[in-house]
Each structure stands twice: as C-alpha cells, then as structure tokens.
Symmetry: C2
Subunit: 198 residues, 2 copies
Amino acid sequence: MYEGIVQDLIDELGQLPGVGPKSAQRIAFHLLQADPVDVRRLADVLIQVKQRVKFCSTCFNVSEDDQCRICRDPRRDGSVICVVEEYKDVVAIERTREFRGRYHVLGGAISPIDGVGPEQLRVRELLTRLADGEITEVILATDPNLEGEATATYLTRNLKPLGLRITRLASGLPVGGDLEYADEVTLGRAFAGRRAAE
Amino acid sequence: MYEGIVQDLIDELGQLPGVGPKSAQRIAFHLLQADPVDVRRLADVLIQVKQRVKFCSTCFNVSEDDQCRICRDPRRDGSVICVVEEYKDVVAIERTREFRGRYHVLGGAISPIDGVGPEQLRVRELLTRLADGEITEVILATDPNLEGEATATYLTRNLKPLGLRITRLASGLPVGGDLEYADEVTLGRAFAGRRAAE
C-alpha cells in the first residue's frame, strides 16, 4: 500500500515496544515531513548508542567507559552493594538520592518459564566481588514480583554463608509491579526501611 | 541521570509524536539490549527514507521516482482527480478500492491560526493541472473538520468558473475527526455517495 521504503519504516517502528501499527504509521508520517537534519540526528544517536554503550566491568551498569560513573566515583561507599535486575533500576534508585553505595546489575531475574536461571545472570560475578572482603552489606533490590522474589530468595541462600549483612527493600513497593515505575518517595522510603533478609 | 548518549537517545525519541517521557525511556532501554544489527537497520531506514522519498511532480504524492505509482499507472482514470490534504489520505482512500482516478495532494488545509493560506498549499499546481482540459471531475476529499471544510469551500469557489464537475465526499464521515482514521467501509460509502458541491 505504501511506497516501499515508507512501508519499511512503518515495519521497523512497529517493532519497538509500545508502538502499535497506528502509532508506527503516525511516527512515519511525522518523519516524512520532518527536517532531514532532525531525522539524521535520530539515526546517528541510534548508531552511536550501540557503538558507545558498553557495560561496566565491575557492576555491569551501562557505561561509556570501562567503569561506570558510580564505580569511578570515590565518594560512593564501596562497602554497600545494591543488587538490581536492570540498568533502569539503577536510574530509578539514583533518582531517590537515598543510596550512596555502589550497584551490581544482574541482567534480569530468575524465571524458569523464560529459561533464565542463576547461570544466565551475573551471580558468579557478584560472588567474585564479595570475595575481596571490602563489602559488608548487600541490599537485594530486585523487582517486587514473582521473578524478583525468587531471585532475592536464591541470592539470600547463596550469600548467607559469607557472613555479610543481607537486606531487602522495605515493603511499601506495590506488589506485582515493576520497581522502575515506583514513585520516588515510595522507593526512597522502601530504601530507608529495608529489613534483614530471612 | 543517564549516561550521555542514552539520555540523548531518550530525548530524541521523546520528540516523536505520541511518545512521552516514559515511552521514550522504555524504547531506549529496549534498544540498549537489542541486537546491534536490528538497531542499525532502523537507523538505515531512517536515513534512506529521507534520501529516497520525494514527491510526485504531478500530484505531490509520496514517491521514490519523479512520478508516483498512481500517476504512472495507465489503468487509472485520468479524467477524475481526488484532492486530499496529505499523503496518508491517499493511502486511506486507496485502501477502500472505491476510487480509480488520480490524486492531488495539497500538503495541508487552510488554517489562518497556523498561518496556512491557499498560497502555502499546492492550489496553483492544481489549477495548472486542470487547465489542460483532460480532467472532467474534481472530488474534494479534505478532512471533515473546520480547516478541511474551509479548504473545500475555497476550492469550490475557485474551481467553479472552470465548468468542471466538482464533488464532495458524502456525509457519513464522523464530523470533527481526521479522514485517515475512518474505517474502510465508512470511507468507501462516503466515496460512493459523493454529492455536487454547492
């Protein structure tokens, strides 16, 4: 129905999360009429984001350097590590300004249905970090849903023998949701009220 | 809050129509984890769409060649021209399979508030096309809203002296809406029931 390249663009846009066929069409028509300079800038950012974005060699946070900004920052408390599922959770927690330690990004949560077990996550790398003795507390900040709970339980069981303080975020987070969508006050309070893991 | 290039990507995506800050963030995170080949393909389509898409020199429809597919097609009836506001309206009408003539894309509608008058639209080009005498009917298929009605009224007044048949789409289209969102049956019936312009 559309000229070939226009249809290609609609198809590509339709692959993005939350973009249905009507939205894809609407965005495509917008781009057809947009200034070529603006469209080129979007294309360049897409190319650069894949070229420049790496993962921090220490915590696996998103980074443009070998180590992320938080791992490089000497003012951050190296004795407390907050374990999260994804990069977006780091951003959500940073926004609360409640936490001054460092992070460990697992890269997901345990989910047998999706074929994700502990070996698909950066659990071994977490154990390696904990082995040097500098870290005294691990905060498990996985999502308050089934997979997140399973991951936290698994980690608690495996970290207990190390004799560290292991804590979980306080309840207050809406159950069944995603951590990243919690508002800043709720997430900040959940941080302040964290409890010892059973 | 985000690493520089990630924030750039979120900002660029947030410029797209219908993409709010949360959606932009969601799409950006998806792209961060996507296969670089897929992201590169999206970037390439964006670049190519601006390089390859031109406008038909006859009807101003979107085209990859000097003339669009419809103007090149000898099976289309050259004696009837359907005047629409935008390329997306051509696509919506083509989908009904009700119309076998050709098009003229104005590039918008008269809207004093937005500073769009007849001189900003391809009205002069329409008059030039009508001058050769091959065209016997002009169907005014502007959007059934204030700007579309004003444009149709303006064109009716200016085309009347040429002695052509001038028609409007039948009522049946929801008033106040956009032509492109009408369902195919409604739009097809509106075509079949078009009436002489007063």
